[in-house]
Amino acid sequence: MNRRLLPLTVTIVLFVAMAAFGAIRFDGFLTLQVFLNLIIDNAFLCIVAVGMTFVILSGGIDLSVGAVIALTSMVSATLLNAGWNPFAAMAVVLVLGAAFGALQGFLIQRFNLAPFLVTLAGMFLARGCCYLISTESIPIDDATYVAIAQARIPLGFNASLTIGGLIALLVVAAAMRIAHASEFGRTVYAIGGGETSARLMGLSVDSTKIGVYLLSGACASLGGIVMTFYMLSGYSLHAVGLELDAIAAVVIGGTLLAGGVGYVAGTLFGVLILGIIQTLIAFDGTLSSWWTRIVVGALLLLFCLLQRLFEGRAPKSP
C-alpha cells in the first residue's frame, strides 16, 4: 500500500520543503495569497495537466495541448469580437477542443499510430489554424469576460481566488472522482497497466483510448478559456511550450510515464511545485527567469530517475 503512495509522498514533501524554504528565506512569503496565487497564475496549466494525467496514465502523450490553448484563445477572441454571446462562444470552443482531441484519439486508436506523432501533427495543425485566423494578437473587451477576469472570490485573511483558479480546483476535484471511481477512469489505469490484458478482460479499450484524448482536448480548451480570462486576448503565440510544462507537472506529480500508476492529486502538487519555483525565483529577484527551465529540467531528471528506481524495485510482472 505504501509503495503505491511513495511517489506522491515524495512530491508533497518536496512542495512542503520548498514552501518552508521560501517562508524562512523571504519575508511575506508565508501568506495565504502567495499560495492562492500559485493556483491563480497556473490555473490553465493545472487544467491542462489534469487532462494530460489521464493521457499519460493510459500510456500515451498529448503534445497538442499548448497549441489547442492558443487556438481556443484565437477562436474565442474572434467570436467575441463578432458579437457572440460569451457563453455561446465558450461552449463552441469547448466542443471544438473536445472534437479535436477525439479526432487525434481516433487516429491513434483506429490506425495504431504513435500518440507522440499524431499529437505532434495536431500541434502543427492547431498552431497553423491560429495563424490562419490572424498573426496578430486580438484583444478581448467583452464586458462579461472582463468582469470574470476581474472577479475575486474573497476567502478571508485578505486573500482571494479568481474564477479561473476556482475552475482549476473544480476540475481537479472532478478528475479525482473520475480517476478513482468511474468505469472510464479505471479503464484508463487498466490500459496503462497492459493494453492486451485489458482488452482480453473485455474492457472497452478502444472507446476509452479515444475518450482520453477527447478529455485532454476538452481540458486544453477549458484551459484556453481560463487563459483568455487571464490574458484578455487571443494570440497565436499563447502557451508556446506549455505541453512540456504540463508533462513535467504530471511527472513531478508522481505519475509513471510508462502509464498505469499515478494520481490526479499528484498532478496538482506538480503544478504547485512548478509555480513555487517561479515564485521563489521572483522573490529572490537576482535569479533570471531561465533558471526556472533549468530547475524544472533538473526536477524532471530527478523524478524520472526515481521512477526508474521505483520500477526496478517493483516485482516483475509476468
Partner: protein, 345 residues
C-alpha cells in the same frame, strides 16, 4: 518498372520532384541559375543552402530513430552550440578597428561541437544506462537545454563580428554554399561508415530486434550511445551553421521547433518510425521537401505561418501511409469495390 516503383526512395523523390515542378510553374524564375562573382545563385541553390542545417540534424535523427530512439532535444542543442561558439569568439573591435576573436576559431568551433556531443552523450546515457524512454530522456534536455543556452548568453542575443566565422553559413566554395558542402560531406561520410563498416548492420539489427541483437553479442549499448552522441554532434554542426548564417546566437529562438522538422524529414524520407529500416538519402530528400515547401509558400505570398498547416497535413498523410491498419482498410475498401462490381455484372 516495378522495381523502380517499389524502391523505398521512389515516393519521397517523386514528391520532391512534383514540388519542384509546381514551384517552377508558379514562379518561372525559380529554375534560373546565375553565375555571379564565382558563385552560383538561384532559388534552388537558396533552398539547398537553407535546408543544410535541417539535413544535418535529420541525418543524426535518422540513426537515433533507426535504433528505436528519438531525440527531441536537438533544437535546444542547436541553441547551446550557437551560444558556446558565440561566447568563445566573443571579441570586439581593437583600437585600430580590427575585429578579433577571443579564442582561435578552431578552438571555438571545437568547443561548441564538444559541448553538443556531450549533450548527445548525456541523452544516450539516460537512455542506455538509466533505461529511460527516449522521449522522456531527451525531454529533460529539451526543457533544460534552452535554459542553459540562455544562462550562457545571459538572456541576450549575442552578435558575432568576427568575419572568418561567417564563412560557414554564408560562404561559397567552388561556386556552392559552404553549408551545403558541410551537409553533403556529412552525408557522404555517414554513408561510407554505414556501408563500409558493420555499423549499418548493427544499427538495423538493434532497431529491428534489440533483444536478438543483444543475444547475438552486438554491443547494443555502446552503439546506441554512439548514435545519440552523433545526433548531438550533428545538432552542434547545425547550430554553427545557423549562428554563422545570422551572425549571432539567439538562445531563445535558434533551432526552435527544429526537432519536429527533423522528425518530419526522417519520416517523409521513408525511415520506419518503429526502428530498423532507415535511409539516409530518403532523409535528405525529406529535408529538401520541407524546405522547398517553405520556400514555395513564401514565394506564393501566402503567410509563411500557413506552412504549419501544410506540414501537419503531410505528417498525417505519411503516418497513415505507414500504418498497416490504414493500408489494410484501403485494401479492403478496394476489394469491396471490386466485388461489388462483380455482383453488378
Amino acid at each position: 518498372m516495378k522495381r523502380f516503383l517499389g524502391h523505398a526512395l521512389f515516393w519521397p523523390a517523386m514528391a520532391l520532384a512534383l514540388l519542384l515542378v509546381a514551384s517552377a510553374l508558379f514562379n518561372p524564375s525559380f529554375v534560373t541559375l546565375t553565375w555571379r562573382d564565382g558563385h552560383l545563385y538561384g532559388s534552388v541553390i537558396d533552398i539547398l543552402n537553407r535546408a543544410a542545417p535541417l539535413i544535418v540534424v535529420s541525418l543524426g535523427m535518422t540513426l537515433v530513430i533507426a535504433v528505436r530512439g528519438l531525440d527531441i532535444s536537438v533544437g535546444a542543442v542547436v541553441a547551446i552550440s550557437a551560444a558556446v561558439v558565440a561566447l568563445m569568439i566573443g571579441g570586439g573591435f581593437s583600437a585600430t578597428g580590427e575585429v578579433h576573436s577571443d579564442n582561435p576559431l578552431w578552438l571555438a568551433l571545437a568547443a561548441a561541437l564538444g559541448v553538443a556531443a556531450a549533450c548527445g552523450l548525456w541523452n544516450g546515457l539516460l537512455v542506455v544506462k538509466a533505461g529511460m524512454q527516449p522521449i522522456v530522456a531527451t525531454l529533460i534536455l529539451m526543457v533544460a537545454g534552452r535554459g542553459i543556452a540562455q544562462l550562457l548568453t545571459g538572456g541576450q542575443i549575442i552578435t558575432v563580428y568576427y568575419p572568418p566565422f561567417f564563412t560557414l553559413g554564408n560562404g561559397f566554395l567552388l561556386g556552392l554554399p559552404v553549408a551545403l558542402w558541410i551537409a553533403g560531406l556529412l552525408w557522404a561520410a555517414l554513408h561510407l561508415v554505414l556501408s563500409r563498416t558493420a555499423l549499418g548492420l548493427f544499427v538495423r539489427s538493434i532497431g529491428g530486434n534489440p533483444e536478438a541483437a543483444r543475444v547475438a553479442g552486438v554491443r547494443s549499448s555502446a552503439i546506441t550511445l554512439c548514435v545519440y552522441t552523433f545526433c548531438g554532434l550533428a545538432a552542434g554542426v547545425a547550430g554553427l551553421i545557423v549562428s554563422s548564417n545570422v551572425k549571432s546566437a539567439d538562445a531563445n529562438n535558434a533551432g526552435q521547433l527544429l526537432e519536429l522538422d527533423a522528425i518530419l524529414a526522417v519520416t517523409l524520407g521513408g525511415t520506419a518510425l518503429t526502428g530498423g529500416r532507415f535511409t539516409l538519402a530518403g532523409t535528405v530528400i525529406g529535408a529538401l521537401i520541407i524546405q522547398t515547401l517553405t520556400s514555395m509558400i513564401y514565394s506564393l505570398g501566402v503567410p509563411p505561418e500557413v506552412n504549419l498547416v501544410v506540414k501537419a497535413a503531410l505528417v498525417f498523410a505519411v503516418m497513415l501511409l505507414q500504418s498497416a491498419e490504414f493500408r489494410g482498410l484501403v485494401a479492403r475498401m478496394v476489394r469491396a469495390d471490386k466485388s461489388l462490381d462483380g455482383t453488378r455484372r
